[in-house]
């Protein structure tokens, strides 16, 4: 089995964080997970600034990004990442409650790599998170390190 790469979860709701971590743990995908509680914190982490200044562990393999968050929304984070050549190659999976068309359209037009609606059914949710985790943190080959500054 391939080694696990770091997953970043950007999520404001504690319940969702617990459930997502539980789902990842259930499939042993949770050994390295970074959680940001809103968009601003996520950007600080990605740019190694603020409380993440001096961080040297490089970018995560994938970012699971919620849309509706306080301060900086997921769509804003996505927009900033995709317009910065240093971050634009990082895979971003939108993980959100909303199936609303405007959200879908905005996410894809900003360059999201995938869009997953969190199912209400927990078992389905676990499945979805497992598939995301396995695909992005194990199966998928991330962009070369020198492509991300």
């Amino acid at each position: 089995m391939k080694s696990l790469r770091r997953i970043m979860l950007v999520e404001d709701n504690l319940n969702d964080i617990d459930l997502t971590l539980a789902a990842l743990e259930e499939h042993h995908l949770a050994n390295e997970i970074v959680v940001a509680r809103d968009g601003a914190e996520a950007l600080d982490y990605l740019y190694s600034r603020g409380k993440f200044a001096g961080r040297e562990d490089g970018p995560p393999a994938v970012i699971l990004l919620d849309i509706k968050m306080p301060k900086v929304s997921g769509l804003e984070v996505l927009r900033q990442m995709k317009s910065d050549p240093a971050l634009s190659t990082l895979p971003v999976v939108m993980l959100t409650s909303s199936r609303e068309e405007p959200d879908l359209a905005a996410s894809y037009s900003l360059g999201a790599n995938a869009y997953v609606v969190k199912p209400v059914d927990f078992q389905q949710f676990v499945d979805a998170v497992r598939q995301i985790g396995v695909f992005w943190a194990v199966v998928n080959e991330p962009p070369p390190r020198n492509a991300i500054k």
Binding site: N13, N15, D16, D18, L19, A22, I67, K68, T96, S97, S98, R99, E100, E101, P102, K118, P119, V120, D121, F122, Q123, F125, V126
Partner: protein
């Protein structure tokens, strides 16, 4: 003819002749000069030889002083007819003897001059010493008449010169005639070509090149010029053709659009008459012709008041004079003039006058210089209106007031419609925000309930009682059901709000796709007899109409589940104004008294244990069909199946 106008051929011949003549002449002159000088020298030499002979002969006569001998010796000079005088002088210079003897002594020089002969006018004369053994005995004088000799010599010389000239000029003429062709031929050929081209306008002709000299180069340049002219000419011709075609097309288009505009004007539903400022009629709308019972041919070009005179049976009629006054006001002010309702009797073709009431408006058509170019006379035939309301509204002004009131009311209600449109828009925006928030925020707690219930079951399920585990399952079920309800509601709300993308939709194709999809899922283990009829292509929103088929066919499959072999039919009734499409099953059916409730949101006629579902599918169907301008209804006999109908208008004025 001046030299410059002579043909080149003659010019060349003349040139050559002139040149050779001049050369000839110059040569002749120099030769003549030479000959003349030689002639003089020779004459002098001859005379001095004669002088020496005579002098030698006369030594004896002089020595012996014998004058008779001397005279005799001199007389011998007679043989030379040009010698006109001769004389001998003795040693002392005294006249001794003379010739001719008759010549007086005074006619001779009185004393002898120095030795030597000289020309003097027409004579050559001079002195010759007479010596004997170095002893000077006397002097001889001789005078020769050179005039005659010179004349003879000159004449001979001239004859030779003229003869030679004639021969040379003749030869030169013949030669030049033959040789000038070398020069003139190519020029003439070139000129001939140029003339041919300018006369026949044939630019494909080329001059023949006869040599590599300047004319050859000129021919080349000329031909090259012709090439260019030919290309230019061809280009020009092509452009003329193109431009002509364009012009023709433009003309055609102009005529066509003119015809279109004419027919548009003529078929305008109102009564229109177009006048020139001098009140002659330019044209009229068909409606006007109909109302005035005349034809366009009879009125165009005529003065309006000759075509439409006042009724002579009514001397008080003011129609014409009012109209004339109004038209004059328009001409004077350049602005529209509304006239009060006029009683105006129309003359029928049979000459009888018919009473009409007209409401005319006269407006100007201004030209670029802001002057009135045409007058537009528009009338409203209000005869029926006036006749119907003579009791209440005999006064046309009262009617005008009423009309204005009506207009004001219409304006007010349109304001109201605009206001409620605005309200509707903001309500829609709120609904949008509401469903966005529902989508995000309402589903999250449900997910958490189900999630934590699931986690609880996993971590501590074994410690719970059977009943406790049942409760956990109920919690999860309820949360999931609520999730489904919310999703369905959101879809329903979206169906009402989202923009419709209209286009042709093949309903048969939609039905086929839906049946295939259902066959792959639920109906895989079922025995279903499908019967799909012909369906039309309609104008609508494809995803929405697919939703209709999905809901209706899925319902048919669901409610026919108890049947061993389900029969599902999709078919069409082709009505004059609309298509009626139906989906029929042999399922459990429903009681007709609840038929109207079926299409409401969350309305169900069965318990969830019997048939799953949220009761939103048919509400969606109704909403979609309504937005397409159609209707929905259903028929059923309990226990033997149901038929769901929806209609779509054939000529849709769809509300979006």
């Amino acid at each position: 003819m001046p030299l410059r106008d002579l043909p080149i051929r003659r010019k060349l011949i003349l040139l050559l002749l002139l040149t050779s003549a001049v050369v000839m002449l110059l040569m002749r002159v120099s030769f003549f000069t030479y000959e003349y000088l030689t002639f003089r020298r020779e004459t002098i030499r001859q005379l001095s030889t004669l002088g020496e002979v005579i002098a030698a002969n006369s030594t004896a006569a002089l020595a012996f002083d014998n004058q008779d001998d001397a005279r005799e010796i001199l007389a011998a000079l007679k043989a030379n007819r040009h010698l006109v005088a001769a004389a001998l002088y003795d040693g002392s210079g005294k006249f001794f003897a003379g010739y001719p003897a008759a010549r007086p002594v005074t006619a001779f020089p009185t004393v002898p001059g120095g030795a030597g002969f000289h020309f003097e006018q027409s004579h050559l004369s001079g002195f010759q010493p007479v010596t004997q053994r170095e002893r000077r005995l006397g002097t001889l004088y001789l005078q020769l008449d050179t005039g005659v000799v010179m004349r003879e010599w000159l004449w001979g010389s001239l004859q030779i010169a003229l003869g030679l000239m004639a021969v040379i000029v003749g030869v030169a003429y013949l030669l030049s005639r033959a040789l000038q062709k070398q020069v003139s031929q190519p020029i003439l050929a070139l000129a001939e070509t140029a003339r041919a081209i300018s006369e026949r306008k044939n630019y494909s002709v080329r001059a023949t090149k006869l040599g590599e000299d300047e004319i050859g180069r000129l021919t080349d340049a000329f031909n090259q010029m012709l090439d260019e002219i030919q290309v230019l000419n061809r280009d020009l011709e092509r452009r003329v053709v193109e431009r002509t075609a364009q012009l023709e097309a433009a003309n055609k288009e102009l005529n066509r659009s003119r015809a279109v505009f004419e027919s548009i004007f003529e078929s305008l539903p109102g009564l229109f008459l177009v006048l020139k400022p001098d009140l002659t009629i330019v044209t009229a709308s068909d409606a006007y012709l109909k109302a005035t019972m005349t034809t366009r041919e009879k009125m165009v070009g005529q003065n309006m008041f000759e075509v439409f005179p006042d009724n002579p049976a009514e001397p008080d009629a003011t129609g014409s004079s009012n109209l004339r006054a109004s038209l004059e006001r328009v001409l004077a002010t350049g602005t529209t003039d509304n006239m009060a309702i006029q009683k105006y009797d129309v003359r029928r073709p049979d000459g009888v006058y018919e009473e009409r009431y007209w409401s005319p408006v006269n407006s100007p058509l201004l030209g670029v210089d802001r002057r009135v170019e045409y007058l537009i006379h528009r009338v409203e035939d209000v005869t029926d209106f006036v006749r119907q309301k003579p009791a209440q509204d005999g006064d046309p002004d009262a009617m005008r007031i009423k009309l204005e009131q009506m207009e004001a009311e219409i304006f007010q209600s349109s304001q109201k419609v605009q206001a409620s449109n605005q309200q509707l828009r903001s309500a829609n925006a709120e609904l949008e925000a509401f469903s966005y928030s529902v989508s995000h925020d309402l589903r999250a707690p449900l997910r958490h309930i189900d999630g934590f219930a699931g986690l609880l079951g996993k971590s501590d399920g074994k410690q719970l009682s059977e009943r406790g585990r049942g409760y956990l399952a109920h919690i999860s079920d309820s949360a999931r059901q609520m999730g489904t309800l919310i999703d369905d509601l959101l879809v329903f709300s979206r169906m009402g709000r989202s923009e419709m993308n209209l286009g042709p939709v093949d309903l048969r194709q939609l039905a086929d796709e839906t049946v295939q999809a259902i066959k792959r899922q639920e109906a895989a283990e079922r025995k279903i007899k499908w019967e799909l009829g012909a369906l039309p292509v309609v104008h609508g929103d494809r995803p929405m109409l697919r939703q209709v088929f999905v809901n209706l066919i899925a319902n048919a499959v669901k409610y026919s589940r108890p049947r061993e072999e389900a029969e599902i039919e999709v078919g069409l009734f082709d009505e004059p104004e609309e298509w009626v499409i139906f989906v029929r099953d042999n399922g459990v059916g429903f009681e007709m008294q609840y038929a109207q409730k079926l299409f409401g949101v969350f309305q169900r006629l069965h318990r969830a244990e019997e048939f799953e579902g949220t009761g939103i599918g048919l509400a969606n169907v109704r909403r979609i069909i309504t937005r397409h301008g159609g209707r929905t209804w259903a028929e059923s006999v309990v226990g033997s199946g149901a038929t769901f109908y929806f209609s779509l208008p054939k000529n849709p004025g769809i509300k979006t």
